[in-house]
C-alpha cells in the first residue's frame, strides 16, 4: 500500500473527480469551474511527470482492483501507455485553455466541461489499462463521454452527427466486447505483455483466434476510422472546435489506433499475428484508408471536413507502421501517434479560430486570411507542412521511419508507393490553402467578423494553444534525437517490445 500502487489511479482520478464535481456546479460559477479544470490538468501533468521518470528507470506502477472473480481492473504504466498518457495530458491542458476561451458565455458549460473531463479520464484510463478488460471498460466509457460533446450544440445536425457517431462506436464496442469475452474464455485473463502471450496456445485454437482478431480489430477500427468504418468521423465534425481537436488528436481516433497497437503487439504479438496471416490484411486496409482519406480530402470545401478526411488518412499511418514487420516500422507507427496528435490539434485549433473570429468555415473563404490573422495562419501552416512531411516539422520523422522500415521488411514495393502518393495528395489539399491564405488578396468583408476588444488578432485563450502546439510539432521534429523526445521514447518502446 504505497504511493506507487495508487499512482496510476490518481492519474485517472485527477480529471475524473473534478469532472464529476463540475456536473453539479451552477452555470454561473465560471471561476470555480476554471480553477477545477486547470488544477486537475496541472496535477495530472505533475503525476504523469513522476510516472514517466519512473517508467524510464524501470519502476513499476500498478493499481489492481477485483471487479468479479477472474475480472480485474488493472492500471499499469509501461512505456507505451506513458507515451499515450503524456500526449493526452499535455494536449488536454492546452485544449482546456482553448475550450474555456472558446465557450465563454455559451450555454451548458457545466455539462460540457464535466463530460470533457470524463472523456480525458477515459482516454488516460485506456492508456494505462494493464489488461484487455480494463481497456474495454475505458473504451466504452470514452464512447459515452464523447457522445454528449458531439451533440453539445443541440442543433438537428449536431444530434444527427452524434447519433451516427454513437451507432458506429457502440456497434464497434459490442464487437470488441464479444471478442474480448471470447478470448477470455479460451485463454483466461489477458494481460498486456510485451511480445504478446497467445502464441503459447494450442494450434487447435488458431481458427478461433483469427475470428476473435477480426472482431476486435473491427471494433477498434471503428474508432480508428479504418475504411469502411470511418463514416462517423466526417459527421462528427458538427462538434465544437475544442471537441473536434481532442477527438481527432487524442481521444477517440487515437484510442482506436492505440487499441490496435495493444492487440497486435501485447496480446497476439506481432510475429504471431504474422504467423496467423493477419498482418498483411490489416496493412492493406490501412493503405487503402490512407489513400482514400487523402482523395476525399481533396474535394472538401468545408475546412473542418477536409481536416477530418485528412485524419482518416493520417491515423492509418499508425496502423500501417504496426503491420510493417521489424523494429523500424514499429517506431514509425508509434511515433506517429504523437506527431499526428500534435499537428492535427494545431490545425483544428486554428480552424476554430477562423470560424470564431471571422466566421470562416470554408476553404474558399480563406483568401488572404494570413494578413488578418498572421499568427493563427502561421500555426496552421506549420501543422499543414508537418502533415505533408516537410522537415523540420515532426511529420517527416514518422514517414522516414515508415519508409525505412518497409525497405527493411521487404515490403517497400507496395508501402513506398502508398507513402509517396499520400504525401503528394497531402500537398495537393494543403498547399492550395496556404497559397490562398498568404498570397491572395483578402475579400472586402469576412463572412461574420466579430469586433474583438483584444490586443491580438483574436482572444488570447484561442491564440496561445495553437501556437504552443505548433512549437511542439517543430520541436518534436527538430529534437527528434534528444532523450525524452517522442522518437526516442518510441524507440524505447520498440526495444522493449522486441526484447532488443
Amino acid at each position: 500500500m504505497n504511493f506507487d500502487t495508487w499512482l496510476p489511479l490518481f492519474v485517472v482520478l485527477s480529471s475524473l473527480l473534478p469532472g464529476l464535481v463540475m456536473f453539479f456546479l451552477d452555470e454561473g460559477s465560471h471561476r470555480l469551474r476554471t480553477v477545477l479544470n486547470m488544477s486537475g490538468a496541472l496535477l495530472k501533468l505533475l503525476l504523469v511527470g513522476v510516472i514517466t521518470w519512473g517508467v524510464f528507470h524501470q519502476h513499476i506502477y500498478e493499481t489492481r482492483w477485483t471487479l468479479a472473480p477472474g475480472l480485474e481492473l488493472v492500471l499499469h504504466a509501461d512505456t507505451l501507455s506513458v507515451l499515450f498518457v503524456i500526449l493526452s495530458t499535455v494536449l488536454w491542458l492546452v485544449t482546456t485553455v482553448y475550450a474555456i476561451g472558446y465557450l465563454e458565455k455559451s450555454p451548458h458549460r457545466s455539462r460540457f466541461f464535466g463530460f470533457f473531463s470524463v472523456c480525458v479520464s477515459a482516454t488516460v484510463g485506456l492508456a494505462l489499462a494493464g489488461n484487455l478488460l480494463t481497456f474495454v471498460l475505458f473504451y466504452e466509457l470514452l464512447t459515452l463521454a464523447t457522445y454528449p460533446l458531439v451533440a453539445h450544440r443541440g442543433t438537428p445536425e449536431a444530434l444527427r452527427g452524434a447519433r451516427i457517431y454513437l451507432a458506429y462506436t457502440l456497434t464497434g464496442g459490442v464487437l470488441l466486447f464479444t471478442g474480448t469475452v471470447w478470448l477470455h474464455s479460451i485463454a483466461g485473463s489477458i494481460a498486456f505483455v510485451e511480445g504478446g502471450t497467445l502464441n503459447q496456445l494450442h494450434a487447435d485454437y488458431h481458427p478461433q483466434l483469427k475470428v476473435i482478431f477480426l472482431l476486435m480489430i473491427t471494433g477498434l477500427g471503428v474508432k480508428a476510422a479504418l475504411v469502411p468504418l470511418h463514416g462517423w468521423l466526417p459527421q462528427a465534425m458538427v462538434a465544437p472546435a475544442p471537441v473536434s481537436a481532442l477527438l481527432h488528436a487524442v481521444a477517440v481516433v487515437k484510442a482506436g489506433a492505440f487499441g490496435i497497437i495493444r492487440v497486435v503487439y501485447d496480446v497476439y504479438g506481432v510475429e504471431f499475428t504474422h504467423e496467423l496471416g493477419l498482418l498483411t490484411g490489416l496493412g492493406i486496409i490501412a493503405a487503402i484508408t490512407i489513400i482514400y482519406g487523402s482523395v476525399k480530402a481533396l474535394s472538401q470545401d468545408n475546412l473542418k471536413k477536409r481536416l477530418a478526411y485528412s485524419t482518416v488518412s493520417q491515423v492509418s499511418y499508425i496502423a500501417l507502421g504496426i503491420t510493417i514487420l521489424g523494429p523500424i516500422g514499429t517506431i514509425g507507427g508509434i511515433v506517429h501517434l504523437v506527431h499526428q496528435g500534435v499537428m492535427k490539434i494545431t490545425l483544428f485549433f486554428t480552424a476554430g479560430n477562423y470560424a470564431e473570429t471571422l466566421g470562416i468555415h470554408k476553404v474558399s473563404e480563406m483568401d488572404g486570411v494570413g494578413q488578418r490573422m498572421p499568427a493563427t495562419t502561421l500555426a496552421f501552416s506549420i501543422g499543414a507542412l508537418g502533415m505533408i512531411g516537410i522537415p523540420p516539422v515532426a511529420g517527416y520523422v514518422s514517414k522516414w521511419y515508415l519508409a525505412l522500415g518497409s525497405l527493411e521488411a521487404g515490403m517497400a514495393w507496395w508501402v513506398m508507393p502508398v507513402l509517396v502518393t499520400s504525401s503528394l495528395l497531402n500537398a495537393a489539399y494543403f498547399l492550395p490553402i496556404l497559397y490562398r491564405a498568404w498570397f491572395k488578396q483578402p475579400a472586402t468583408k469576412w463572412p461574420s467578423e466579430k469586433i474583438l476588444p483584444a490586443r491580438f488578432e483574436t482572444q488570447a485563450a484561442l491564440l496561445w494553444p495553437p501556437l504552443i502546439t505548433a512549437v511542439l510539432a517543430i520541436a518534436a521534429g527538430m529534437f527528434a534525437a534528444s532523450p525524452y523526445s517522442p522518437l526516442e521514447w518510441a524507440s524505447l518502446i520498440t526495444r522493449r517490445e522486441y526484447g532488443l
Partner: protein
C-alpha cells in the same frame, strides 16, 4: 443478531397498521420504518457474510410444524436491494404524493408490500411461499390501481387475474409436492426430490404459475399496461422488485431444489423464451411512444436476459465457472432492480412536471431537468450493460458462460439485445440536447431527483466497481 430476521417482517407489518391508525403521522412512520428496515437488511447482509446462513424459528417450533425464517447469501442480497429501492422510493413518494389524498391509501399498502416481499425472501417452505406470494400479488395490484384512471383500473384488474391464476397454478404444484413427498420444507425437499412424473409435473405447474407472474415472454402481455399506468413509485417497485421476487422463486426451484431433476432439454425452454423476450421486449421498447411503456418493455427484455442463464448454468459443471455465471445472473438482476427503479422515478418527475411522457415531445422538459435526465442516462447505461455498470459484469459472465458451454446462439441474441437497448436509451437521451431554456442549477427538485439519481448511480457505478462481494455472498447458501 438473529432478531433481524423477524424484524424485517414484523416492523413493516406493524408500521402498516400504524399508518392506518395514525394517518397524520404516516409519512414520518414510513420514512423511519424505511430507514430502520434498511439498517436491518444491512445488518442481515453483514451477518450472513460473516456467520453464514441465518435461521429463526418463530415461537421455537421446528420446521414442519412452525414457521421458519432463514436467509442465505442470495436472499440477503435481494433483501438489501429491496431495502435500498424501497427507502429511496419512500422518500420520493413522500414528495410525489405531497398533498394528494391518495397517500392515505398508499402508505399502508406500500408497507404491506414491503412486509410480504421480505417474508417471501425469508421463507423456507413452499406453503409460506405461497401465502407470501399471494399477499405480495394482492398488495401490488392494489397499489397499481391507485393510478385511478380507467386504463389503470383495467390494467390492475388484468394484473389481478393473472396473479391469481399464477398463484393457483403454483398452489397446485405445491399440493402435488406435498402428496408426493410429504414435506414442503425446501431444505428437506432438495434432499428427497427425485426425477419422475411427480417432480416434473409439480415443477411444471409451479414454474408456469411463476413465469406468468414474472412476465416471461409470451406471458408478459399484462406487464406493460400495469407497470405503465401505475403511479411512478409503484411502477418502480413493481418492475424492480415484485417480478424479481417470483424470479427468485424460479431460481430457487430450478437451480437449487430441482436442479437434479431438470434436464438440458427442459433448461433450454426458459432460455429460448428468454431470448425471445430480449428481442421482442427491446424491439417494443424501441417503438414505444411513451416513456413509461418504454421502461416497461425494457423490463420484459431485461427479465429475458436472466432466463438466458438457465440453459448455461445447466450445461456448466459445478465449479468456478458455474459459480461465476451464477454471480453474473444475480448481479444482473440486482443492477436491473436498482436501475429500473431509478428510471421509473425519473420518468415520474418528467410526467409530473410536463403532464405527459410522450417521448417525441420531451425536448423542453428534458432540458429543464438536467439531473433527472442524468439519472435516466445512468440507468440507461445499466440497461444497455455498458461499463462501469453491474450489468456489464453480468453480461460478461453471461457471454463467457455461453462461450464455455459452446452455445453460440445466445451470443448473437445478447449482441442484438445490447444494440437495441442502446438504441432505445439514446432515443430518449437525444432530447437532452437542444436549445430550450435550462436552469442555472442542475438539481431542481431535491426530494425527487436525488432518490432517482442515487438508485441509478448505485446500479451504474456502485455495483459495477464494488460488485465483487456478490460472488462471495453467493457462496453462503443453504
Amino acid at each position: 443478531m438473529i432478531d433481524t430476521l423477524i424484524w424485517l417482517v414484523a416492523l413493516p407489518l406493524a408500521s402498516a397498521l400504524a399508518t392506518q391508525l395514525l394517518p397524520r403521522y404516516a409519512t414520518a412512520i414510513v420514512i423511519s420504518t424505511a430507514i430502520a428496515t434498511s439498517i436491518n437488511a444491512a445488518a442481515l447482509l453483514y451477518a450472513v457474510a460473516t456467520h453464514g446462513v441465518m435461521l429463526y424459528q418463530i415461537g421455537g417450533w421446528t420446521a414442519g410444524l412452525g414457521i421458519a425464517l432463514r436467509a442465505d447469501g442470495l436472499s440477503a442480497l435481494l433483501l438489501m436491494m429491496a431495502a435500498i429501492v424501497l427507502l429511496a422510493s419512500s422518500i420520493y413518494a413522500s414528495a410525489y404524493f405531497n398533498d394528494n389524498p391518495l397517500r392515505r391509501r398508499f402508505w399502508p399498502l406500500w408497507l404491506l408490500l414491503w412486509c410480504s416481499l421480505n417474508a417471501l425472501l425469508l421463507s423456507g417452505d413452499l406453503f409460506n411461499l405461497y401465502v407470501t406470494l399471494e399477499l405480495l400479488g394482492l398488495s401490488a395490484v392494489a397499489l397499481a390501481s391507485l393510478g385511478g384512471k380507467t386504463a389503470a383500473l383495467q390494467a390492475a384488474l388484468r394484473y389481478l387475474l393473472v396473479g391469481l391464476l399464477g398463484s393457483m397454478l403454483f398452489l397446485a404444484g405445491v399440493t402435488l409436492i406435498y402428496a408426493g413427498y410429504g414435506t414442503l420444507d425446501l431444505a428437506t425437499l432438495s434432499r428427497v426430490v427425485a426425477a419422475g412424473p411427480i417432480a416434473w409435473s409439480a415443477l411444471a405447474l409451479m414454474t408456469v404459475g411463476l413465469l406468468l407472474k414474472t412476465a416471461l415472454f409470451p406471458l408478459h402481455f399484462w406487464l406493460p399496461p400495469a407497470h405503465g399506468s401505475a403511479p411512478a413509485p409503484v411502477s418502480a417497485v413493481l418492475s424492480a422488485l415484485v417480478v424479481k421476487a417470483t424470479f427468485y422463486l424460479v431460481m430457487r426451484l430450478w437451480l437449487d431444489i430441482f436442479s437434479e431433476v431438470v434436464t438440458p432439454q427442459a433448461a433450454s425452454i426458459p432460455g429460448v423464451l428468454g431470448a425471445a423476450a430480449v428481442l421482442w421486449g427491446s424491439w417494443q421498447a424501441l417503438r414505444a411512444e411513451r416513456l413509461k411503456l418504454l421502461a416497461a418493455y425494457s423490463t420484459v427484455a431485461q427479465l429475458g436476459y436472466l432466463f438466458l442463464f438457465f440453459p448455461l448454468l445447466q450445461a456448466l459443471p459445478a465449479g468456478a465457472a458455474r459459480d461465476a455465471a451464477m454471480g453474473g445472473l444475480v448481479i444482473l438482476a440486482l443492477t436491473h432492480g436498482l436501475a429500473k427503479s431509478g428510471l421509473f422515478l425519473a420518468i415520474g418527475i418528467i410526467q409530473q412536471r410536463s403532464g405527459h411522457d410522450t417521448i417525441r415531445d420531451l425536448d423542453g422538459t428534458a432540458q429543464r431537468l438536467p439531473a433527472t435526465t442524468f439519472a435516466i442516462a445512468l440507468s440507461g447505461i445499466a440497461l444497455i450493460g455498458l461499463p462501469p455498470s453491474g450489468a456489464f459484469l453480468g453480461k460478461w459472465h453471461l457471454l463467457a458462460a455461453a462461450f464455455s458451454a459452446g452455445q453460440w446462439l445466445w451470443v448473437v441474441v445478447i449482441m442484438i439485445g445490447t444494440l437495441l437497448a442502446a438504441a432505445y436509451t439514446f432515443r430518449v437521451l437525444g432530447h437532452a440536447f437542444g436549445q430550450q431554456p435550462y436552469p442555472r442549477h442542475p438539481v431542481t427538485i431535491a426530494a425527487e431527483e436525488w432518490p432517482a439519481l442515487i438508485l441509478s448511480a448505485f446500479a451504474t457505478i456502485g455495483l459495477g466497481l464494488a460488485g465483487a462481494p456478490v460472488w462471495q455472498l453467493l457462496k453462503v447458501s443453504l
